[in-house]
């Protein structure tokens, strides 16, 4: 029995080799949706597009990713996957239009159907639903050789995205995924749907390059260590932008636009942006040399002032040391991806044993 879903947007069936897919969660990742209380949840269906608030910098990240992919002669695909009901779809689509977001598909969870059919567990269940949708979405196409995923720390995005990435890479087979989902007490229909989609995969490769988790709930970043360096917990979209810049997925202009959006929409200062970068470096998600380049971009755009002399000298020394290291060790941190210990992740995050 498949999960109820409603989708729109045309995805081309043909696989484009020079393509890149960006998959986005909506609530708490793109939109600052408040559903912490019953009152806030009741309000959501009655919100107009103009009532909906996006997180600072997020439209600029999507626009930058699209523009830069096209500039590299890559076909960008942007998909949204939401666990919200399709009844709020019009407001969401209008909001995306207001923000100038071009996208290729958006999927909502048909909660009304679940409700009518008395599938109570399906109303709350996220993992089976989202994992199934991700795999089927890839099956439907496009099966781009590179994917970047964006989620948040509110529910289970880190786990869902990591499992999805490891399934595509061939590190998890249908049996292993089934065991994980059974441990998480996902309903049988959803497990069967996921297993079928996993078995239907014709080839495996390292498709998912990065998973960005917006720390909307301010979950301590140390909690995500178990997910490996492929997953980048980010406190704001400037951090996400900085990491994407290092990967070569956005350019100077896009990064400047993101930084400006944070300054204008959320009163960020040069100090705040600089601190955000340094935090990313200390956590091992950005190289000091990239940090130096980004600071120069911010300075050129008059967003950040000059760094104190001593700090600048230290940053240059670090960057030089890093260049020396790079002669022996090639590749960004995420390329040396260790195998994830899902039994440990499940213990840490859900207290369940596989």
């Amino acid at each position: 029995m498949s999960e109820a879903r409603v989708s729109d947007g045309g995805a081309p069936a043909a696989v484009e080799q020079a393509a890149i897919t960006f998959r986005w969660d909506l609530d708490k990742t793109y939109l600052r949706t408040q559903f912490e209380s019953l009152r806030q949840m009741v309000k959501i269906p009655f919100e107009a597009a103009s009532d909906k608030v996006h997180l600072p910098g997020v439209p600029q990240v999507i626009q930058g990713l699209r523009r830069c992919a096209l500039a590299r002669a890559q076909r960008p695909f942007v998909f949204f996957l939401s666990a919200s009901p399709p009844q709020i779809g019009n407001a969401i689509r209008e909001k995306l239009e207001l923000d100038g977001i071009e996208y290729d598909g958006i999927i909502f969870k048909d909660q009304l159907r679940n409700l009518v059919r008395g599938r109570w567990r399906s109303l709350r269940e996220q993992i089976g639903y989202k994992l199934g949708e991700l795999l089927e979405s890839r099956e439907r196409g496009p099966a781009a050789p590179r994917e970047i995923l964006f989620g948040d720390d509110w529910e289970s995005d880190p786990l869902i995205y990591s499992v999805y990435a490891d399934v595509l890479a061939g590190r998890l087979d249908a049996g292993a995924v089934g065991d994980l989902l059974r441990t998480l007490e996902v309903e049988r229909g959803a497990i069967a749907r996921v297993s079928r989609a996993v078995e239907a995969l014709e080839s495996h490769s390292e498709v998912v390059q990065r998973i960005y988790i917006n720390l909307e709930k301010r979950t301590p970043p140390g909690r995500f260590h178990a997910f490996g360096p492929r997953l980048v917990p980010a406190f704001n979209y400037f951090q996400t932008g900085a990491s994407l810049f290092e990967l070569g997925l956005i350019d100077d202009a896009a990064l400047t636009t993101i930084a400006n959006a944070l300054v204008e929409e959320a009163s960020y200062s040069g100090d705040r942006l600089r601190n955000s970068l340094d935090d990313l470096v200390r956590r091992g998600h950005l190289r000091p040399s990239s940090r130096t380049r980004i600071i120069r971009i911010l300075q050129a755009a008059a967003i950040a002032g000059p760094a104190p002399h001593e700090a600048m000298l230290r940053a240059r020394l670090r960057a030089a040391f890093e260049r020396l290291q790079a002669r022996w060790r090639r590749g960004t941190p995420a390329e040396q991806l260790p195998e994830l210990d899902y039994a440990q992740i499940l213990r840490d995050w859900t207290g369940r044993e596989v």
Binding site: R218, T219, P220, P221, G222, H225, F235, N236, Q239, Y268, S269, D271, R272, L273, R274, N275, S276, D278, D279, R282, R283, P308
Partner: protein, 338 residues
């Protein structure tokens, strides 16, 4: 927005409680903070809890001064110690003030070595807040005592300058329009206490810039008769430790009494909220530290046994002191009486 340098490696519970305090402050305020210490240790601690990275930067340094080390020797041997680096950052204008829970002697010496004394100030004074009775609604429940250890002996001019500095600080931080200043002495009469205290009394009495209420005896320290109590470092330190000790003894006695027999246990249970309130009142962890006054730059010294809430409060006090221009106000007041 003020930028506060925080000595991450100083204190009995450093760096854990210091980093936690900074993380808490980052979620509750918009103060920019620089954690000074071992970058790897700091980041590992930040990673373990919620924080706002936009307000926190880290200045790496390789050494720290222990609580039991000789301050002078340690400062000489460890030029890259966190407390020295924090003081240097303030002196260089990279931070507006510093907070440390580390070795008190090293903190005072690091400030003395790196900060300039306000023009005309002979000696800096280490202040401390202490719990006291209030005489009217809305009165601050904390009094200010200075000096508590930056000096040993002082002359009359130095004590008078402490009075001016303490008054300016209390006016800004406690929001008392005209703080009452008392001179700690062995009697209330003007002639008591020897030449230095008699001369200090005469000078303070003649100063229109402060609201001098005369001599304060030991039994009046905690009664709320004065908002600022001035004394030399040796005596001030003894008084401060005595107040802390009384609070701890009261808590120990209450615990002991509760274990004695069921009647006492019942009595203690009935008084538990009162005891808890008393413990809160005498708990140095809630004060948020006190300043070293007399320098152009500001240093807030926090109790060595401080935990995260005290560090968080100290950072807020430091930011408020910077915003309220405490040091310039002291300089202006001193200039006006010269």
């Amino acid at each position: 927005m003020p930028r506060i340098a925080v000595d991450a490696m100083g204190g009995d519970f450093a760096p854990e409680e210091i980093v936690r305090g900074v993380a808490q402050a980052s979620l509750e305020s918009d103060i920019q903070m620089v954690l000074v210490g071992s970058a790897d240790k700091i980041q590992a601690l930040l990673d373990a809890g919620p924080y706002n990275p936009e307000l926190i930067s880290v200045r790496h340094c390789s050494s720290a001064i222990g609580m039991a080390e000789d301050p002078r020797e340690a400062l000489r041997a460890k030029r890259d110690a966190s407390i020295t680096v924090a003081a240097r950052m303030v002196a260089a204008g990279e931070a507006d003030a510093m907070v440390s829970a580390g070795n008190t002697g090293a903190c005072v010496l690091a400030a003395a070595k790196n900060f300039k004394l306000i023009r005309g100030v002979k000696k800096a004074a280490l202040a401390s807040v202490f719990p006291r009775q209030t005489e009217y609604p809305g009165q601050d429940t904390l009094g200010l005592l200075l000096d508590v250890g930056a000096t040993i002996r002082c002359d009359a001019i130095e004590l008078t300058q402490f009075a001016v500095m303490g008054s300016a600080y209390a006016r800004r931080i406690s929001k008392v329009a005209s703080p009452r200043v008392g001179l700690l002495n062995m009697g209330s009469e003007e002639s008591k206490g020897g030449d230095v205290l008699v001369e200090a009394h005469r000078r303070m009495k003649s100063l229109p810039a402060i609201n001098f209420v005369g001599n304060i005896e030991g039994n009046d320290v905690a009664t709320g008769k004065a908002d600022v109590i001035v004394t030399e470092g040796l005596l001030g330190n003894v008084v401060l430790k005595l107040i802390e000790g009384i609070g701890e003894i009261a808590a120990t006695l209450a615990t002991h009494a509760a274990q004695e027999n069921w009647r006492w246990r019942l009595g203690m249970a009935m008084m538990s909220s009162g005891i808890s309130r008393m413990r809160d009142l005498t708990d140095f962890r809630t004060y948020g530290g006190a300043p070293i006054l007399g320098f152009e730059s500001l240093c807030i010294k926090v109790h060595g046994r401080s935990t995260a809430p005290a560090i968080r409060n100290a950072i807020k006090v430091a930011a408020k002191a910077v915003r309220d221009r405490i040091s310039p106000e002291i300089a202006e007041t001193l200039a006006s009486i010269r």
